[in-house]
Symmetry: C2
Subunit: 244 residues, 2 copies
């Protein structure tokens, strides 16, 4: 029996945004691995073993799923959103690289609606033109690299989607990022904060960079900083297709 | 009767990646608008009027759909992928801005799996760390702006997802972009070309920037240029989560 490992995106939270492909792969799985709240989104069923784990356990989770596939199980790792954007797909390939015995496994990645697309849809179309995507968590990279990327994104007039803007462990990173964007001349840019995108309590807030209170942002918020072209029409925020 | 306009993403092409939300909105629509091949992806049904139109007709299409909603129709505009990424959502808000009479309409945007996520999944996880997203079409912006964004993306070591890399009308843009990336020191970066992502004839090619033949790319190809950290394991290409 040949084992399988599918790395699957569940979308931003609304069950209506889980793709049929994701549902089909979950329906044929024997084992599902993931961060506890994401595994909780998968329906229980006879014959399905659930392996929930904590945040920051990505390495151990990836290895456990690869090991299950190597034993002939049909394993699925679930991520929220899309598994290829700041999620489990890269973690699996990192572990695969060190273990030649696993490199013959049948692996697939199933894309999903990542958080920034759901947030952009809730706000209008702030990612309608060129943009950058930056994870503000500094667990795995230096503040200097984050700052260099923010600076260049402002200088080249990209819109900027920010994942993981703020957590209890690093309450000041987001405030520092805002200060940097302001210092680079981006203080007047529009920002949309979308909390719990696509869920019943979805909430959209629109501000200018320099008016923003960093306290309004938490780990359940996706932040989109507009380019200099980003504008409002009624309640909507959008970036025109025509570049400046 | 109050009209509605839903701006809906159909995903990258595989019917298994159309969300249930998109299917539900299409099931209750009276009118569907879009680029001809995307409208063709919507099943015919009694009571559904189809309004296919040519590429580069975005403005007229947006106005026709808004006018239908204003007449009390339940209109859907379909985009491939996600409607907020180089697609119809921004075009609708551009037209809304000029017509206050339309600003009371009930409008929504339904996100979808955009092409770069499908392409990344086919290749592995090349967008696993910070990245930029650039539309190489210069119909609506200058080459100078495209070049400035490419330069800054290379300098700040982002991976780069490139939409609309090459067309018959501008056969040299992509070659110029590659030459620029090489000149900025990015010639050794990995590039994945994914043609017809998620369709039966999906094809993934991996090269280094300076080895790439621009002729291998067309409008049905999504290009992802890796960061300096992007690497291979077996047939897969991925960008580790740890920043340099």
């Amino acid at each position: 029996m040949t084992g399988l490992l599918h790395i699957v995106g569940l979308g931003p939270g609304n069950p209506e945004l889980v793709t049929p492909q994701a549902m089909d792969l979950l329906a044929s799985a024997t084992d599902v691995f993931g961060y506890t709240p994401y595994v909780a989104r998968v329906a229980d069923r006879t014959g399905l073993r659930k392996h929930p784990s904590d945040n920051r356990e990505e390495k151990a989770r990836a290895r456990a799923a690869l090991a299950a596939a190597a034993e002939g199980r049909r394993a699925v790792i679930v991520s929220s959103g899309d598994p290829g954007v700041f999620a489990m797909a890269a973690a699996v390939f990192e572990e695969l690289e060190g273990e030649p015995a696993w490199q013959g496994l049948d692996i697939s990645v199933t894309p999903g609606v990542t958080a920034m697309l759901a947030a952009a849809a809730a706000a209008g179309a702030p990612l309608g033109h060129d943009f950058c995507v930056i994870n503000l968590s500094d667990n795995l990279k230096s503040w200097e690299l984050i700052a260099a990327r923010l600076r260049s994104a402002v200088a080249a007039d990209f819109a900027i989607a920010i994942y993981n803007p703020r957590s209890k462990a690093r309450p000041d990173t987001f405030a520092n990022a805002l200060a940097l964007i302001d210092a680079e001349g981006g203080g007047d840019r529009l920002v949309v904060l979308v909390r719990n995108a696509t869920l019943p309590d979805e909430h959209v807030t629109t501000r200018r960079v320099r008016e923003l209170d960093p306290q309004d942002v938490d780990m359940r918020t996706l932040v989109i900083v507009g380019s200099t072209s980003t504008r409002r029409v009624g309640k909507w925020v959008y970036t025109p297709r025509r570049g400046s």
